[in-house]
Structure formats: C-alpha cells, structure tokens
Symmetry: C3
Subunit: 353 residues, 3 copies
C-alpha cells in the first residue's frame, strides 16, 4: 500500500519555507532519523544531543537552523525551527491512503442519518438515529456513534471508537481507537443501603483540531457538559471525569486522570501518570511534571511537581521509614536548636563573666 511520494530538494525547501544549501534537483522520498537516514531520505537536527549524529549523517538532506548549518555534511534546508519544519515534512510524507469516500455495506446507519458524499464509513460501524455528519468525516470500522451526536467537518474516528449519545465534536479532530466519549460520570449519593445513582444528563463537547488518544475515556457531564476546547491534545489512556474543562491548546500526556469539575487553563502541559483531583482551577500556562498529584488549585503559572526520586530499593526502604517520622524529626531539630541556642546564650553569659 505504501504510496511513495518523492520531492526535489527545491520543492521541499519551497514547501517548508526554507533556504536550500545543496543540489536543487536531488530527490527525497521519505523521512528518517540522522542515524538511520540514507540515500533519498530527509532528516532533521533539532536537539543538540545529536550533534555527533548530524556530523556523520548520510541523509540526502537535513533540516537545520542557521546556527548548525556549518556542521551539516550533506545538503541542508535552512529553516528557523527545524522541529516544526520536520512536523510539516512529516505531513508531506504521510503514507496513509487518502480518505476513500463511501459507506461500507456492512455498516448499520439509522435511516434518518444523512451521510455526506465525501464521508467514509467503515465496515461494521453503527450510527444511531439523529446523528449529524459533516463533510469529509471518517468513521472507522467498528465505531459506534450514539444518538444525536454531531461530528464536524473532516473529523476522523479511528477503528472501534465509542461515542455515547449527545457528544458533539468540532472540525478536523482525530480520535484514536478504543476511546470512549460520553460514558456516565462517576456520581452517586451515599445512603445507608449503598449508593444511589445520579443520572448523568449533560453531554461532551469537543472543539476543533483536538487529538484524543487510544483508550481515552471522557465522561459526560452531570448537568452541564464536559468540555475539551480547540487545539487540545490528549495522549493515550487519559481519564477525564464529568464536567472537566480543558482549555485551548493544552496538552496532556498518557495515563493522566483529571477528576470531576476541574478546570485546566490554556496552553498547560501535564506530564504522564499525573493525577488532578476534583473541583480545582489550574491557571493558564501551568506545567506539571510526570506522576505528580495536583490536589489544590494553581493560581500562578509555573512548573510544579510532587513525588520522590528513584533510588536503590534497600536505601529507599530506610528513607521511607524516616518519612513516616518526618514531623517528629523536625520537632527534634527544633528542640536541638533551642538547646543549642540556650548553650550559646549561656556561653555568651559565661564569656561575659
């Protein structure tokens, strides 16, 4: 299936807004890392750690910034931001087949649903009544789209995605396999005889240009909607609870969980395996490092962390015991300070005799 698209270096420099230092007619047909690239491949240099590999690369050409142009032993396409240029180049070399418009005959589509002529509906998909599909939508094989969902232009659902009823997706959004949007929020009232369910009557609203990773779950709101704003990127296996709001262009890495009604600001980055408890407000431009627990609102942008560092297990066991005694240790230090201060005072008194 691989559709090989080749470009001359001149064409690439033009497409990426770069300045070519090398042979205009040389041809590249794929992307590769500095180390593995060979004849006919384009690479990029965006991380100082790989300078040695730049100097030794056998790529046909490299995307490089002015600062490292002299280090490049092969043709160079000079760009301001090589990593961004690489991102754009990756789109030029995307080998995935274009959307093939049409409805697979095994798909089950409710009678009242209108499928645009340029949409693609995969095998064994299920689309329930009241669903609205915009132009260029792709619904992968095995997806289930619940009643009254709206899916915006050119939004793509990979295979086996599940949308519960009343989920609304914007334009050019991408949802990966096994993701679930619109499941019930975790809401129960305690009673003497167990838990009483709070029916979850809100929906889920996802903006434009959002990416949602494989196995992500996003619960519907209890009364109002859960909201994922434009440009948000969610990695795999993230859990978003009911009534959470994630602000524009924030990015969250894998396996993070956000508890109910928390509002995350714009342009935040949350590293993987983090937990954010419920009913918090996280300021715009907040950054959280891996496996941190956020249990209070964050009012000031910045970088935040929790946890301890890795250490050999035997040493860790001793330190963990001490952690449990830390408050006591601090009190003992305070007493020592008082005692020593006492002596010190006494000493001064002695000196003054």
């Amino acid at each position: 299936m691989t559709s090989t698209t080749c470009f001359t270096l001149a064409e690439l420099a033009g497409a990426l807004g770069g300045e070519l230092h090398g042979e205009a007619e040389a041809s590249v047909c794929s992307l590769a890392t500095l180390q593995s690239a060979g004849e006919g491949q384009l690479s990029f240099f965006a991380n100082g750690r790989y300078l040695k590999q730049l100097r030794a690369t056998r790529a046909t050409a490299v995307l490089v910034s002015a600062r490292h142009l002299d280090e490049c032993p092969v043709a160079a396409i000079l760009v301001e931001d090589p990593y961004l240029a690489f991102a754009r180049a990756s789109q030029l070399f995307d080998w995935r087949p274009a959307v093939a418009a049409g409805v697979h005959p095994s798909a089950v589509i409710a009678e009242d649903v209108q499928v645009p002529t340029d949409a693609q509906i995969g095998a064994q998909a299920v689309i329930e009544p009241g669903v609205r599909l915009a132009s260029g939508v792709v619904i992968g094989p095995g997806c289930v789209i619940g009643r009254d969902c709206h899916i915006g232009p050119r939004t793509r659902l990979e295979a086996n995605v599940t949308l519960y009823p009343n989920v609304r997706l914007g334009a050019e959004t991408l949802i990966h396999s096994a993701a679930v949007l619109g499941s019930d929020g975790f809401g129960f009232a305690p009673t003497p005889n167990g838990w009483e369910k709070i029916c979850q009557l809100g929906g889920v609203v996802v903006g434009d240009r959002v990416e949602i990773g494989a196995g992500v779950t996003i619960d519907r709101g209890a009364l109002d909607d859960t909201r994922i704003e434009d440009g948000v990127k969610l990695d795999n296996q993230i859990q978003i609870a009911h009534n959470v709001v994630i602000g524009r262009d924030s990015a969250i890495a894998g396996c993070t969980a956000v508890a109910g009604s928390t509002k995350i600001g714009q342009r935040c980055t949350i590293a993987g395996m983090s937990g954010i408890t419920g009913h918090l407000e996280i300021a715009d431009d907040t950054h959280v490092t891996a496996m941190s627990l956020v249990s209070k609102s964050i009012a000031n942008p910045g970088v935040y962390s929790s946890g301890t560092g890795l250490e050999p297990h035997q040493q860790w066991k001793r330190n963990v015991v001490r952690f449990r005694q830390l408050d006591e240790l601090a009190r003992r230090v305070r007493k020592l300070e008082q005692a020593v201060e006492l002596y010190s005072t006494e000493g001064q008194t002695d000196d003054g005799r």
Copy 2:
C-alpha cells in the same frame, strides 16, 4: 430524541418525599446547577460553598434542607438529604430512551441462546454459544459475549463491551463501553528460558447493582473466581487483577489498580490513581486518598494516604535530593542529640562543681 418530561412541584415533592414551600402547580422540566438554572428548572443545594449561588438562583425550585430553607429565594422542596434527593430527581429527569426490546438483524447470536422478548440486542453484537440472558437485558452495539456467560435481569452493557467466556453478572448491573471482563490474569512461572504461562482457569463473578466504568479491565481468576460483590461502583480505567475480591458497596475512583488476590472489604472508598499490591486484606470502611500506594494489609478502618504534596519544581528538586539522604539526616540528628545531651550533662556537672 430528547424526551421532555415535566412535573409539577407538588408531584416532585411527592416523588422525592419532600415538603413543598412554593406554588404546587409550577412546572419543572429539567435539572440544572444553581448558577445556570432558570425558568422551569429544578436545582439543589448540598454544599455550603455554593451558598452565594443559592441566594442568587433563578431556578423555579430548589431541593434544600431545613437549615438553609430561609436562604432560598425561590420555591423550595424541603428534604432531609438534598444530595440524595437530587440523585433521585436525576432519575426522574433521565432523558435516555427506554429499552427498545428486540434483536438487531446484524447481531450474531449462537443458535442455542434464548433471547427474552423484553431484551435488547444492539447492532453488530456477538453472542456465543451457551450464553444465558435474563429478562430485560440490554446488550449494546458491538458487544462480544463469550461462551457460557450469564447475564442477570435488567443488566445493561453499553456499546463495545467484551466479556470473555464464563463471566457471570448479577441483576441491574451497568457496564460501560470498552470494559473487558474475564481476560487472562497475569500469571507466569519463571524459567531459565523465559516465562511459562499459567492458564487462567477461573471466572469472574459480578453481583447485583454494580457499575463498571468505561475501559475497566477485570481479569478472570487463576483457579477460583475474581469477585465483585453487590453494589460495588468502579469508575473508568480501573484494573482488577485475578482473584481479587471487592466487598459490597465499595467504590473505587478512576485509574486505580488492584493486584492479584487482594481482598477489599465492604463500604471502602479508594480514590483515583491509587495502587493496591497483591495478596493484601483491606478492612471494611477503609478510605484511601488519591494516588496512594497500599503495600500492606490494613486491619483498622480509617483514612490512609501516601505520596508527597505538589510544590514548585525548583523547590521540589531540592527536597527530593534531601529525601534520598533522609535516613542519613535522621542519624545525624540522633548524633546531635547525643552530643547536646552530653554537653547538657557536662553542663550540669559544671553547674554542680
């Protein structure tokens, strides 16, 4: 699809066992938060933090306790437990369509399976031989029900749920999308040439009125069964390993993992992102806070925690270094105490001269 059901305040007060303070014939057709509610909407006041919003609400009526009745600027339905009354009201206003009995023609159902006339089997579902379905069961689109599973009365599987063979579900249980019950427990014997698989020959038994979140995985037992007792509530993306037992009415929040053969008692609550290691016994009425690691059995009910709190990254980095030296620090403090005690003794000796 939204089916609007309206009630008079008198009807609602009757249904919720409350006392109406307001116009009996006023009509409400939906639920909303205090802040967003307007004409024709019912709200509730269950959290002191929202007192300001209660005073300003424009809801048609509010569920409120005696203590805050005077603060309510609109009609009130006086109840003992407003949160519980809200849970019950949410069920009255549930807009989801009623179960539509019938088997979708695209479903694949083994010949020996009897489908009750009031059951609903969704499109593209697969039901293997030997499965027993009770009255009122709902199997969502794309579900796969393995051989010899038993599903109890009025239990509902949302879309794309997978049950391996020999899983037994009780009555009125709800399982959300992408959940997997009955996958192999993680059991391997080490050998000099890698891992030898231990076939997982037990099953999974789930009680009545259980709720299992989206993307939850529950492994089958190695020899005996994995057991989820009546009334248990599991949030999304929880992992339950082989031979775990979760006691009646316990509730576990999202992304928590419970390792093999651990027994969790009744009425426990485990907050999200927690880990519970294997072969433990957790007492009834134990509560664990978010992102805690439980690595020993808990004999006494109470609230337990582990981890550290969030802090600015630069400050955290310094503290993390000190954590690695904590045992040494404690030893140094001990030495100081001995030294100061020594001086103190000497001092006393001096004093006594």
Copy 3:
C-alpha cells in the same frame, strides 16, 4: 462447554517430569488451590506461607518439591519447581475449546487477503487489504486489522482488538481484548498558534511468544518502529509510547506507562502503576517496585523504588508539610552540626586552659 479432561497420576507425573508418590491409577480432572481442592483435583505447594494448608489439603495429589514431600498428607508428584509444574499442569487442564478453523460469514475480509485453512476469523471482524495471516492464526470477534499488518503462526487476538496499518506480530503471541497497537505516537511541535502534528510514519513490531494485556496501547513509531521483543509479557492497561523498545523476556505489570524512545533491557520486571519517562536506557535485569517513577537511565541491574509508604491520613498530612521544608531542615541540621562542633572545639579549648 466445559470439556473435562482427566489424567491418571502416572500420566500427570510423566507429563510434568515428576516422580509419583502415590497411587498410579488415581484420576484427577481439574486443578485447585490447596484449600479448596477435593477429590479428583490436583493442587501445588510453591509458597512456604501455605504450609498449614498443605498439611490439611484434601486434594487427590499435590505438586511438591523434595523439601516438603514429608509434609504432604496425600499423593505427591515430586518435582524440582512446583510453581513451574503447576504452570504446565494448567495448560493440560485448559478447558477453553480448541481453535475452530473457519471464517465467520459476518466477517469482512479484503479480497486480496488469503486466510489459511486452519485459521479462525470471528464474527464481525474486519481485515483490511494487504494483511498477511500465517497458519493457525485466531482473530477474535469484532477485531479490526488495518492494512498491511502481518500476523505470525498461531498468534491469537481475543475479541475487539484493534491493529492500525503496518503492525507486525510474531508467532504464538496472544493479544487481549480492547488492546490497540499502532495508534499515533504523541508527537507535536509547538508553534505560536498551538501544536503542529508530527505524522507518525513508523510501525509496531512484536516478537514471538509475547502476551499483551487487555486495554494495552502501543503507539507506532515516529520514523522507526516501536519494538516489543520475544517473550515479553505486558499486563493490562499498559501504555507504550512511540519508539520504545522492550527487551526479550521482560515483564511489566498493569497500568505502567513507558514514555517515548525509552529502551528497556532484557529480563526486567516493572511492577504496576510505574512510570518511565522518555529517552532513557534501562539495564538488563533491572527490577522496579510498584508505583515508582523512573526519570533517569539505569546503568546497573538491581531493584529500584520511589514514593513514600502508606500511613494514617492525619499523620501523613503533617509529614507532607515537612517534606516541603526538607531542604531547609537539612540546612538547619548542618548549622546545628557546625554549632555543636564549635562548642565541642571551644569545650576542648576550655578543657585545655
């Protein structure tokens, strides 16, 4: 469906390479724990903790090592490694039906795909063009196999597995339900107007005898492939990011996440809920305990940990406050040491007067 296979003790001893101490013609038809086993059941003793249960067992026979042979009150099959013998016995007693070759008529298989006569393709499965299936492959109901995937001999996909295009699986590998292989790696370049997607052009390569748990997600590589080597065992809900390499015979427990481009060595064990950040190298034979964060490369084999231990919440709250002041506390101890040393010196001077 349960197919009961019975063996005489002589047959079992032969099959497991053990020495029978007991009646050769006695028959066992299933496996059970020491505690629950009865007439016609085989059990095993592999953990000293269960000695009391061994002494009281009512199993027909027990797999036991020479050291505990005398403690066994019933027939014994003497083996070198009882746990390994139990693993092998579990395979003898596996009750799951054998592979039933054939293609379910509801499966959708691209015209160019050749299905071996001994393969089994489940109901509602989807197999896209260019896929190659080896002898004895099992594709469960509802699976979606993307374009150009290769699946090796006797590899089995349980129900509702998703393979994106260009995923290659070795022989005798087992993939559990709701797993997703080949989803896009989480790669975006920052721009002043949000995130620019880096198309993920690599694949996923999985070796022989690998087991991948329910709900696992393995992202495709950005340029090169993500690689899971022979004999690796992954528990449920693990997240493997793009370009990760997991070395031969390593085993990872549930809910662990490995970030991009990290290389894990051979024979490592990583306990559950752990996080491993990106671009690291983890030495062969490294072991990480539960809920640890690995944020630096590990050059030396050994056991590593991070985190704190569980404690009563009120005590923990006090200690957490002290952790935030730990660097300051250490500085205060240093000052005390200097002060006490000073006195000590002064004292000596005094003594010397």
